[in-house]
């Protein structure tokens, strides 16, 4: 049981707990859906550890998870873009591109090898979405208190995580030979650090989401 407590699972469970506390009664179903997504993330992480100990290859678990990752993140971006523009064309194109690469990779190397190319494309999409969101935010005439903007910090987490993981995505094939400890290679540590940044930003974003509700109740 002890082995399931990795830095990744711990930060994910903390983020899930904060999401449950902050978003359970949220007015937006899209924000509430983040609870479900984080629950799926935690289950995937624990499932991934379990499968790797049983069968050594847990890539198929993450191949399933990437579907949820793409779906929920696109849903959230659609929700954020809708405040400024009609998001449907961008989001539908993004999802279509993702599906195309996903099917192509499954077709080419099967379900039991991780879809690295699909993940790299998805990362690039999310980076572009984040940059476009900030562009829309700057262009908008209204003022938003960014320190307490849940949208801003949610996108910040995405941008930090997916932009910074670009190097890992690029050198994916070479990374397996770069071992830092006998058990873990370099990308494991990089993603551990990026996960901490991502879930910290998201946790803060969920707290910001809860903040105005708490304030009005006082």
């Amino acid at each position: 049981m002890y082995n399931y407590f990795t830095p990744n699972t711990i930060i994910e469970v903390i983020c899930l707990t904060i999401a449950v506390i902050s978003l359970l009664k949220d007015s937006s179903w899209v924000w509430r859906s983040m609870i479900l997504y984080l629950l799926i993330t935690c289950l995937t992480e624990i499932g991934g550890i379990y499968v790797s100990r049983q069968a050594h290859n847990n890539h198929w678990v993450y191949n399933i998870f990437i579907l949820f990752e793409a779906g929920f993140t696109h849903l959230m971006f659609a929700h954020l873009f809708n405040k400024y523009i009609n998001s449907k064309p961008i989001i539908i194109c993004g999802l279509a591109l993702f599906c195309l690469f996903y099917v192509y990779e499954i077709e080419s190397h099967g379900f039991f090898r991780y879809n690295h190319l699909t993940y790299a494309i998805l990362s690039a999409q999310f980076v572009l979405y984040s940059l476009y969101y900030y562009y829309l935010l700057i262009q908008d005439h209204g003022y938003v208190n960014l320190k307490q903007s849940s949208d801003f910090w949610w996108v910040a987490g995405i941008l930090f995580f997916y932009f910074s993981s670009t190097a890992c995505n690029f050198f994916d094939d070479k990374l397996y030979s770069v071992m830092i400890t006998p058990k873990h290679h370099l990308s494991y540590f990089i993603f551990k650090g990026l996960n901490i940044i991502l879930y910290s930003c998201w946790s803060y974003s969920f707290i910001c989401r809860k903040w105005p509700i708490t304030k009005s109740e006082i």
Partner: protein, 261 residues
Amino acid sequence: MANNEIRNLIIIITVVFLIAPGFLLAYVFIYNRRKKSHIEEKAQMKLTFEAEIAKTQLEVQEQTMQTIGADLHDNIGQLLSLTSLTLNSIELEDIAKAEQKIDTAIDLTLRSIKEMRLLGKLLQGDQLIVLGLAEAIRYEISWLERSGKFVISYLQDDELPAAGNPDKDLILFRIVQEVLNNIIKHAGGTQIGIKLGYSEGILQLSINDNGVGFDMDNLPVEQRGMGLQNIQKRAAIIGGEAIIVSNPGAGTNVTISIQYP
């Protein structure tokens, strides 16, 4: 490439790619703060503008009340006194003379009624602006002409846009009133020229007189602060410019140019 080199390269790239979003977020933060101060400045300017409009409305009303007070005292009051005197002096024994006096009293009463009607219109005060700037200026001129002290020429461009700007009209009308007041009180002239021109979205209001004029450079501070700065400040508030040209003995010319409507 050796493993160590790959490791170092990936670490460096990851760190750089981690710093880049940091800078981007910092830029968004700074831009957002500037946006906030811009919004606050705009709100402050709007408040100042609204306060100036309210002040101008009050001044136009005050000016109207002064005109009404003066007219009641100097004109209608005199007419009614004369009517009363005429009626008092009627002797019923002399029918022919009495008829003449009654006719005079009727004539005086009719003139009083006419004056009262004009006053009633003026009582609407700043509502004159609803009729448009040109009409309001014409009305102001007609009152001034009645004093018989000034020869006023008024030229108005036919190209004036039909749909005006009530706020700008009000400020411009108040400027006209202020300039005319200055002419009456200080200039000592006999001729006043007013021109309202419009060309390529620019409205130009020009008022000149043949009064004593003044030396722009050696104007006492207390005089400079009162009327002239007010005119320039008001013109600036509606995005315009006021140019005042005057020389001792050569009259004064005030020109205001603004984007219109």
